[in-house]
């Protein structure tokens, strides 16, 4: 009986540990995606502002 319980405990421990690792990695990656997209957006806006024409229109 002890061996049966031990085997089933090990089976489910490893499975749940794997699932927990996947979800943890997903959360980390999602945070990285959000951070990188914000960085890209900020830099695109900044470079867009720098590229505005400096010469005044002729009157």
């Amino acid at each position: 009986m002890v061996y049966l319980i031990a085997a089933y405990v090990v089976i489910w421990l490893i499975t749940f540990a794997f699932v927990a690792t996947i979800f943890w990695r997903q959360r980390q990656l999602q945070q990285q995606v959000v951070w990188m997209e914000q960085l890209l957006e900020t830099e695109t806006k900044a470079s867009g502002a720098n590229e505005t024409p400096t010469s005044a229109p002729c009157s």
């Binding site: 009986m1 061996y3 049966l4 031990a6 085997a7 089933y8 090990v10 089976i11 490893i14 499975t15 794997f18 699932v19 996947i22 979800f23 990695r25 997903q26 990656l29 999602q30 990285q32 995606v33 990188m36 997209e37 960085l39 890209l40 830099e43």
Partner: protein
């Protein structure tokens, strides 16, 4: 049309229900194997309902990875690499469970945790090869090169799978041949009666669905990882 997240949640619920049913059937409904001498052996025999499906799913995962590897080499599309690595990670998890549960079953049946007989040795070699696959991936930085090497490795590593399966049929071994043998040869072997077969095939189905579910969840992580990689490249070389 249903949202993909709704479908995923539905799949998770169905898989969970099937796994709970598999536990109930394996521990409560399946009869004792008739030709095992001691109660300890009869209790340990119930590990069979999860031990063999774990190996089946491991082999299936390695087959999927080998096919994905071949398709990557033909098409050079990133998604095949994602499918390959996801499948091998899931397969390796199931294989680890297979090795550990087999070792726990071996103790009351063979009076040892481990023995270097053909099935266990080829299984250990296979496990090490797939650990090597993950190590190889982490050692290569260039994504295209990594995917190419990994694809070739996954095809070569799969050659061990039929050897693991046939080892107990080719060579004299302590490991029982339960499937396809009358009465089960080897130490701790047993006959597959009708109810045992029914429960066994139910568990095989439940574990196959668990593989599909875990594969989809893991694949999502891999696609996210590829997106992070692309964004990083874009930020570095803009």
């Amino acid at each position: 049309m249903k949202h993909p997240m709704d479908l995923m949640m539905g799949l998770l619920i169905v898989t969970g229900l099937l796994m709970v049913s598999a536990i109930v059937l394996a521990l409560g409904i399946a009869p004792d194997a008739v030709n095992l001498a001691t109660p300890t052996e009869r209790f340990a025999q119930r590990i069979f309902y999860f031990h063999v499906p774990n190996w089946w799913v491991g082999f299936l995962a390695y087959l999927v990875a080998a096919v994905a590897g071949a398709l990557y080499l033909i098409s050079r599309q990133e998604r095949w690499d994602a499918i390959g690595v996801s499948s091998i990670e899931v397969g390796l998890t199931f294989n680890t469970i297979g090795l550990v549960s087999g070792s726990i079953w071996a103790k009351p049946t063979w009076n040892t945790w481990w023995t270097w007989e053909p099935r266990l040795t080829t299984a250990a070699i296979g496990w090490l090869m797939y650990v090597g696959y993950l190590m190889l991936r982490s050692a290569i930085e260039n994504p295209q090169r990594r995917a190419r090497f990994a694809a070739v490795f996954s095809i070569l590593a799969f050659l061990d799978v039929p050897i693991i399966f046939l080892a107990i049929r080719w060579w004299r071994t302590i490991h029982p041949v339960v499937i396809g043998s009358e009465g089960g040869q080897g130490v701790g072997g047993f006959a597959l009666g009708p109810t045992i077969q029914l429960v066994f095939f139910f568990c095989l189905g439940a574990f196959t669905l668990l593989y599909v579910t875990l594969m989809l969840v893991r694949l999502r992580t891999e696609f996210l990882s590829q997106r992070v990689e692309r964004l990083r490249q874009h930020l570095m070389f803009r």
